[in-house]
């Protein structure tokens, strides 16, 4: 049986290598540029598959408009199931077997941090993060790893600055998940508060899958905060807000990205419970705005069955930046030139993201801030400052 496996594997590798040869010979005239992508298409984070679909729509749209400098893009999309082992396998397949030019992928920080040593080892391979936000992906800098999305550091800084934009806010409390996502926001938030000379008056954990936040909310209430930072996923954010309203914690709540503010309101069913809710928002405009309509049409064209959501657009900025850099390379597309052009990207405006993107050899965290979104008269609106308390 081991013999059979060996034979099967041998045959498999031979078949793969030979098809590889055929591809190379066929396409010498204008070979496509292979872009490898990996994301959680299955598993508990499968909701983030649309991040990959959003970014691949950009590449498909480019192909339908003739490609870049006459060369088509060829996309290879792999599943990582948000599991480090599967993610490493996906990256090894993309590099050793599909021999992609660059990789644009990764939503789960766990997976990206697991493949990081792999990417560092092959230091010519350009790797651009698709959506993973952990700040330790791009800090300290690795020559071939670029992070064109708001890092947890950027999100936490934006949240803290926003909370403190009203001078009477002095006491800040935090409610957070204790998983990787939660803690990777929590620590930067505590650090950002420290930079303002503050420490959180209370920090409580609220676990994913919980159905009641009574004990956490009562602890927060006892600390009498002026504002609460909520590092929670959409479901738990709604549960917390409902309980905060119930127990009279009526202070501004500043949430991380991810939750849709309208859905949150609908789920709670009490408009007053979200009156003081502000959520980090990575995009330049709301997705129902005119500016986003053309994008929505492109996604619908390639992925008609997929729902469109804020996170659909998370990877779009990175895809546009990659396309822009490849375009600048002209006919001579090499990995070395790609990396050096990426390092020169300055104030790149994708039109999609909340801020412009800049890389330098010393800084590969391309996005430093985001917007905050708030319901104004029932309409999600981008706001710049915490509003003064209503009577």
């Amino acid at each position: 049986m081991r013999r059979t496996t060996a034979i099967v594997l041998g045959a498999l590798s031979f078949a793969v290598q030979s098809t590889g040869c055929v591809n190379a010979q066929e396409t010498t005239s204008s070979p496509p540029i292979k872009i490898g992508m990996f994301a959680p298409l299955t598993g508990s984070a499968a909701f983030a598959a649309k991040v990959a679909y959003g970014a691949s729509s950009v590449y498909k749209d480019i192909n339908d408009h003739g490609g870049i400098n006459g060369r088509k893009l060829e996309l290879v999309l792999e599943d990582d199931a948000c599991d480090p082992n599967k993610g490493i396998a996906a990256v090894k397949k993309l590099t050793a077997q599909d021999r992609v030019f660059l990789i644009h992928g990764g939503w789960c920080s766990n997976v990206v941090l697991a493949i990081k040593p792999e990417i560092e080892r092959d230091n010519t391979l350009p790797y651009v993060v698709l959506g993973a936000a952990s700040a330790s992906i791009s800090t300290p800098v690795t020559a071939n790893i670029f992070q064109p999305v708001a890092t947890t550091q950027a999100v936490a800084n934006t949240m803290v600055d926003f909370a403190l934009s009203r001078p009477d806010v002095k006491k800040v409390a935090i409610i957070s998940h204790s998983d990787e996502w939660g803690k990777s926001h929590l620590q930067p938030a505590i650090d950002a508060l420290k930079a303002h000379g503050l420490t959180p008056v209370e920090t409580v954990y609220f676990e994913r899958g919980s159905t009641d936040a009574t004990s956490q909310t009562l602890k927060l209430r006892a600390a009498k905060p002026d504002a609460v930072l909520a590092v929670l996923y959409p479901a738990e954010l709604a549960i917390y807000l409902r309980d905060a309203y119930k127990y009279g914690v009526r202070v501004p709540t500043i949430g991380t990205q991810g939750a849709s503010i309208e859905d949150t309101e609908r789920r709670i069913g009490i408009p007053d419970a979200v009156r003081d809710l502000y959520i980090f928002y990575p995009l330049s405009q709301t997705i129902s705005s005119d500016q986003f309509k053309p994008w929505a049409e492109i996604f619908k064209k390639y992925y008609p069955a997929e729902p469109i959501d804020t996170i659909t657009f998370i990877g779009v900025g990175g895809a546009l930046a990659i396309a822009d850099v490849i375009k600048r390379l002209g006919p001579d597309v090499t990995r070395e030139r790609f990396l050096s052009e990426m390092n020169k990207l300055t104030n790149f405006d994708s039109g999609v993201q909340a801020s412009t993107m800049s890389f330098s050899p010393l800084d590969h965290a391309g996005i430093k801030s985001g917007n905050m979104i708030h319901l104004v008269d029932g309409v999600p609106t981008i706001v710049s400052k915490l509003s003064t308390p209503k009577p």
Partner: protein
Amino acid sequence: MSKTADSSATGNYRVNHLARGRTLRGLGLATCLALLLGLPLLVNEYQQFVVNTMVIYALIAVGFNVVLGYLGQLAFANAAFFGVGAYATGLTMVHLALPLPLALLAAGAAGTVAGIAVALPALRVQGHYLAIFTLAFGELMRWVYVHADAVTFGPSGFNVPRPAALGLLGSPERGKYYLFLAVAIIAIGATVRLLRSRFGRAFVAVRNNERAAASLGVSVARAKIIAFGWSGFLVGVAGGLYALLNGRVTPDSFGLAQLLLNFAIVMIGGLGSVLGSILGAILLTGAPELLRNFAGIEEIVFSLLLIGVLFFMPKGIGGLIAARIPALREPLHRE
């Protein structure tokens, strides 16, 4: 008991038969070994990585089978043993800078301790009580990884140092392969010997009827502690190898999804079959890679396979082989 009577009746035939079986098996093993040693020449780095994963899962499956198939205890702590081993290797390498062999031994030791820790309640409760207890134990371990930040680096996990020695053979994956293979062959070989010894017979006696076993002088407590301890050792070592394979250890790798995979491998491979466990591991870790383009149906395929096995071949692949190829029949196979 019926077995002894049976073998004395057909003693001569058995002896010849066994001798021939042994020669055949020896030849087969030698061929397999040669092929396994030459395998890295045939595969690229990605395929090598997948094969390395298979070797680890073969070890896990054999370890899990000791408790599930031979001792007959429904324990769901396997993913916990796996995690404990991975953390032991990774953390001793990071915090104490232990060299690799010692770090792997640490994984085995940690796995053994966890195994014995689970065996103690197993002396008191059985059946679904044990299943529920072990389920809780596994989740508790995961909570510890997440919340003991100072030691375990919390929910995001940590990178495991890459021993330079593994890169000597060209690619690190190839170096890992020979290490994993050596460890797996030694550990599985030792397990086969253990199962054939009086300890193995005691495990099976406990599985068949605990009270009868006790009345025949088998120490049920000792059998359980040894089986759980050894299972924990094997799976712990596999965890250590897994830490090395991925170069990163994260708490989420040792949850319910891991448990399902382990479980499906053992069931599909066959309860009480070492060979079946190995084949099950190869099948279930290889299939998802071959089916990469059909992402999203892994849970469905695994659960349907499990249901199919329960209905149509309760002895799994191991049972199928035992029925078709007598030379590969395992002595303590579940009858």
